[in-house]
């Protein structure tokens, strides 16, 4: 099998689960020497890119948060997520076996090669949008990481164990803020409800399953998030209930991030994030 980036190699992992023609047929642009490695590489990129993109979005708040204490809190979460992303990208590069560092993967892939869920690439919006997005992610993240602490890949298990402690704290913070905003003032309630209405559709993607998920779940390296949905619903239903917020009905369900089909927001975000590194390829910083 050749390490062929043109998409012609047979190691692609097309998404064949849904009747969504737009997503079907997407292939990994990086074939590696073995199917298992390729699948693990894909899976690690998904985990890493979620954190890199979300961490980056949160870092945009620095210096602009509603109060000093929150500047510090949001920076904390951003730092944790970017740190996790770096560790996961390093592991991904090792698994890929082509010598790509975490920075090479972070700064020199195009949007179409990113594997984050669309939820995390959306613009921050107001503080309510940021908090609701964070809570929806954190509630999912804790469940995923709990499973990954038992990964058959020892490095991934170690990363997950550390990240789980961080994620539990993130969840504590975002859940409390969901309550404060949902059950605060009329204005904060309206903003939080609007945020929930706008973001809810993007949560479906967190639980979609394809061949990559099934493969890593089967060999124990990763987990299939579909089975986590009930536990996730328990947490989010409880907290939104305490916050007097109403969960919208399921309807429109955007998807595609896991195979590189993103919203237009990601390209713009990466243009900002990657511009300097790309202006000086090969330089050390």
């Amino acid at each position: 099998m050749s390490g062929d980036d043109s998409g012609n190699g047979e190691a692609g992992t097309g998404n064949r689960t849904v009747s969504d023609g737009w997503v079907a047929g997407a292939r990994s642009r990086t074939a590696t020497s073995g199917i298992a490695e390729n699948v693990l590489f894909e899976y690690l990129l998904r985990l890493a890119d979620d954190r890199l993109v979300l961490g980056h979005r949160l870092s945009e708040w620095c210096g602009h948060a509603p109060i000093l204490e929150e500047d510090i809190a949001v920076a904390n979460i951003a730092l944790d997520l970017i740190g996790q992303a770096s560790a996961l990208l390093k592991l991904a590069g090792d698994v890929e076996g082509k010598g790509r560092s975490d920075d090479a993967l972070a700064y020199f892939r195009d949007a179409i090669e990113f594997r984050n869920a669309q939820l995390v690439e959306l613009p921050n919006g107001d503080f309510a949008t940021t908090i609701v997005r964070q809570f929806l992610f954190d509630a999912w993240d804790v469940l995923v990481l709990e499973r990954l602490t038992a990964s058959s890949n020892a490095t991934l298990a170690g990363i997950a164990a550390k990240a789980l402690k961080e994620a539990k704290y993130h969840l504590r913070h975002s859940a409390e803020w969901v309550r404060m905003l949902g059950d605060g003032t009329t204005e904060s309630h309206q903003r939080a409800q609007r945020a929930l209405d706008d973001l809810w559709p993007y949560t479906t993607e967190l639980f979609l399953t394809d061949d990559v998920d099934r493969a890593v779940a089967a060999n124990g390296a990763g987990t299939d998030a579909e089975g986590l949905r009930p536990a996730w619903r328990q947490t989010v239903d409880r907290v939104f209930g305490e916050a007097t917020l109403t969960i919208p009905k399921d309807g429109f369900t955007p998807r595609g991030g896991r195979t590189g089909r993103h919203t237009e927001h990601l390209g713009r975000m990466l243009a900002d994030m990657q511009s300097l590194a790309r202006a000086h390829p090969g330089a050390s910083w």
Partner: protein, 110 residues
């Protein structure tokens, strides 16, 4: 000086005075068995909120194993003007200090 004294900390709820939330004092313990020491203050609303803020501001460098947060308004402090009557009599009562007592040498457990 009276200008500043008229404008004290947070007024409750929204209203026309913009608030930066109530003031809380933070105490950190840096290891099991160590005393809790005053680290500084944070602004927060509920106790849970204060705990999180205190952790982010004073415990993010990881040397802390326990945190106390107390509303500043709950702290009762001695006034400097009473320091004499409150503390000096204790200073000159040597019998409260172990060094006052002469004990036979070589006796253990004292």
């Amino acid at each position: 000086m009276t200008d500043e004294s008229a404008l004290s900390t947070a007024a409750p709820g929204g209203g026309s005075i913009e608030t930066q939330w109530d003031l809380w004092e933070v105490f950190t313990q840096e290891g099991a068995g160590a005393p809790h020491e005053h680290a500084g203050s944070v602004h927060a609303t509920t106790a849970e909120h204060a705990m999180q803020n205190a952790r982010d501001v004073y415990a993010r460098r990881g040397k802390v194993v326990s945190l106390w947060v107390v509303p500043t308004a709950s702290i009762v402090a001695s006034a400097p003007s009473e320091a004499g009557p409150l503390f000096d009599p204790g200073n000159d009562k040597a019998y409260r200090h172990p060094q006052f007592y002469k004990t036979p040498r070589g006796v253990r457990g004292l």
